[in-house]
Symmetry: C2
Subunit: 483 residues, 2 copies
């Protein structure tokens, strides 16, 4: 079938261009000398334009028409189904709008960096107004019948989910968590552990090696903010950072490992197709959170981590280390939040961005609304916008609909972990020995191998036999509050 | 002028795509985990196809037609002139031929690696036959009126030079050098110096820092074969390698520095245009050879290098170090040849590839012809094809016409150095102090800033006031032979 061959060729090219974009981004944050930033911005924008042009090429539409009603095997049928979806969305966005969004995103991030440094929300407001306006315009372009503007934005990150479902899930969480936080701050308070950078490095490297990270197909580097890049088969790169003291590097390296493992365990038959990568932001985040919350923060696994720290010359008892990894305290900053308060930060952002996009909140009223959310959800007063609504990059880059995936990921991770533990039996003993192969295999079989063939909702239901729910997460955090 | 703007936009995109190709190549050789090789090959081939498509797009031809007879400033006129040249060449190559050459190149390199490892020329011969056949076909497509097939290939590396000129220059060299080699082997014999890798690293890093290499706009890394990559303004990356013992890393890091400096000192007004990089392979090689032969091998500069080695804990007298850097011995291997015998290796290859392309030598007769060249030019017997005609990658990759630039670079470097020394005065004293700013400025002013605005011949004549000649090089090497 010639049309199918040609479609695969074209989607293979698009997959290559995405892999190249990943490499440009990775290099920029890990290797590039800083004076190369201007040239790199040109590289990125040219490559994005090339990819956008090819993603909406009329020849692609003609191929999809030729494939109407064609007899296809199950994998090919999914390749064609997702190609239709992606093509339709790409065609609905006028080129001028795509161009304006790209430059508003770049400029917004620049303005935001300066505004945050000077704690000056007013300086950022016009850029945010512009991003909100463009996001609404974009959302109206791509919205399907029956979707709200926000739903349409959400579909870029988590296809098929609706704002209404998120409100229900997050509403249930927001009702339960604040009381748990209060109890956990008493029972499992945040504590600090001063771990020298050298011991952190040794422990990160030793722990990742136990999980299968080797130099043949992986890199582990340092960057200002930890992230993961997957260039293609056999080339996965995670980064971490080493603060003076603290154990954040242990949590973040397992978090990034979860993202990386997901991409590595997609069915090899899907490589270089349009369905050969993680299906959504929330499922991706569920994979990172599974390794962060359910492995790195596991009581028995603390023995392994303590052992690796000891090899790096730092002695700590597993119990003390575990207490440090799970300690709870409400704070103002999302990125350093603990496992229990983290979803509350996300719920606050979801409600605010939903209101911005649906026209229920004016940009000028954001700082006050932010303060109100922090008071209601975390019981905290916000002393400055730098520690408030200026702390995250997302809105400055024009990303609306992305935040929910962070909280959904936490919920999905807990739900998957319960199912995995029910099917394989408790992993405590194995984790105490650092044995994770059964976990990797279960995830490959039930989550990873599908790539984009199942959307978030279908994947969760098929893997766990139940709709997405907050209960597993509430059961996971209950012990922190003495439950 | 709209057409000019649009032409600049399109050539800017092509420049970006070239920068991205550089990055992919650099990453592959310096950073990539080896299991990523398959995915990277796809990335490279997709990107090459995208670039080729855009370089021969009909819209580009239409723009150039619109610009016929337009009033243009001098820079714009050169942008249009070179765009016409590049477009015409790109259009003359049928897409099928370009595709077949790309795959023959990739397959040829694979076959060659295995054949060289097993010293089995017969296993390589069919791939070489195919590359020769395709190169001849390509040459006939792109040849201008009055050009031989080989001339047409040469134009990809050194536009405007002709095989006949090379025969004359190289013939003169081949007449003089063998006797000089014999004398120099007596008077300035090759000797070895066992320098620990740690001291080499310290000396490379200290020496490059003196030349202006800093972390803001440069990277210095390690790779199996030293090379230089320039991604764009402010992002230049050189590599070197550290053999156990030896001083090759000092020579090769200054060699790569010369390539890098050329690109960095092109007029910033030409950045992201089609004329904003080095003009030809031979001029590029002249810049690397200038820093290798005339700085790193300079008698006074040996004081600087010895000082940097001493900081790395290795003590050696400047005279002894200088003697090691300039020692002469005829050997079979091009890449480790000394400054005097190096051009003879190139002359041999030029004559052989010229004969292959012009149909005067059959592939099957290559090993014998190679042995004959080595006997005639270097007085050596070739014990195996692995140390003979299988030693270089170029022909396996389908590159014919590239080798001459190595010898031309040596000649041009010597000619530029004589002019520079005449205009600025002897650099001996300054080099003894490690002072190279006047050299950098002279090169920027007389060579680098032009980018592609002058072709090899015009550039050399303008910078030195004389046609390309072998005399300066012969004067440079004479002292090695006691002259």
């Amino acid at each position: 079938m010639d049309a199918l061959q040609e479609l695969r060729r074209r989607t293979g090219e698009l997959a290559d261009l995405s892999g190249i974009e990943m490499l440009l981004g990775w290099d920029q944050l890990v290797m590039m000398p800083h004076e190369g930033a201007g040239a790199r911005a040109h590289h990125m924008s040219t490559l994005a334009r090339v990819r956008h042009e090819r993603a909406r090429a009329e020849e692609l539409g003609a191929l999809l028409e030729q494939l109407d009603g064609a007899e296809l095997g199950p994998v090919e049928a999914d390749i064609v189904r997702l190609a239709r979806r992606d093509y339709a969305r790409a065609r609905r966005v006028p080129e001028e709008l795509a161009g304006e969004m790209a430059s508003a995103s770049a400029e917004g991030q620049e303005v935001w960096q300066a505004a945050r440094a000077q704690d000056d929300f007013a300086a950022f407001a016009p850029a945010l107004e512009r991003n909100v306006r463009l996001a609404r315009e974009y959302g109206r372009c791509v919205a399907e019948e029956g979707e709200s503007t926000y739903d349409a934005l959400l579909a870029d990150y988590d296809f098929g989910l609706r704002a209404q479902e998120l409100r229900e899930l997050f509403g249930a969480l927001a009702g339960e968590l604040p009381a748990l936080v209060e109890a956990a701050e008493e029972r499992t308070p945040r504590r600090t552990l001063e771990v020298p950078v050298g011991a952190q490095r040794a422990a990160v490297s030793g722990t990742l090696a136990r999980l299968g990270v080797d130099g043949d197909g992986w890199r582990v580097d340092v960057s200002a903010h930890p992230f993961t890049a997957w260039m293609g088969t056999g080339d996965t790169r995670v980064t971490t950072r080493y603060n003076d003291g603290g154990v954040e590097s242990l949590l973040s390296s397992l978090h990034e490992y979860g993202h990386a493992l997901y991409e590595r365990q997609v069915d090899p038959a899907l490589a270089r197709t349009n369905i050969g990568h993680g299906t959504s932001m929330s499922v991706h985040e569920s994979q990172s959170k599974l390794w962060e919350n359910h492995v790195a923060r596991d009581r028995a696994f603390a023995q392994v981590l303590a052992g690796e720290l000891a090899k790096g010359g730092f002695q700590v008892g597993p119990e003390e280390l575990h207490g440090t990894l799970v300690g709870v305290q409400a704070t103002l900053v999302r990125v350093s939040a603990d496992a229990l308060t983290y979803p509350l930060h996300i719920i606050a952002r979801f409600e605010l961005e939903h209101a911005l996009i649906e026209g229920e909140l004016a940009v000028g009223d954001l700082p006050g609304a932010w303060a109100e959310q922090m008071r209601r959800l975390l019981g905290l007063e916000v002393p400055s916008d730098a520690l408030g609504c200026l702390q995250d990059v997302h809105w400055s880059a024009g990303s609306f609909g992305y935040f929910p995936s962070y909280a959904l990921g936490v919920l999905i991770a807990a739900q998957l972990w319960e199912t995995l533990s029910a099917e394989l039996g408790s992993q405590e003993e194995a984790l105490g020995r650092g044995e994770v192969e059964p976990i990797k295999r279960w995830l490959a079989e039930n989550v990873h191998r599908y790539g984009r063939r199942l959307d978030t909702r279908e994947l969760v239901e098929q893997a766990t036999g139940a709709p997405l729910s907050v209960e597993p997460f509430l059961r996971y955090v209950a012990p922190l509050a003495g439950g």
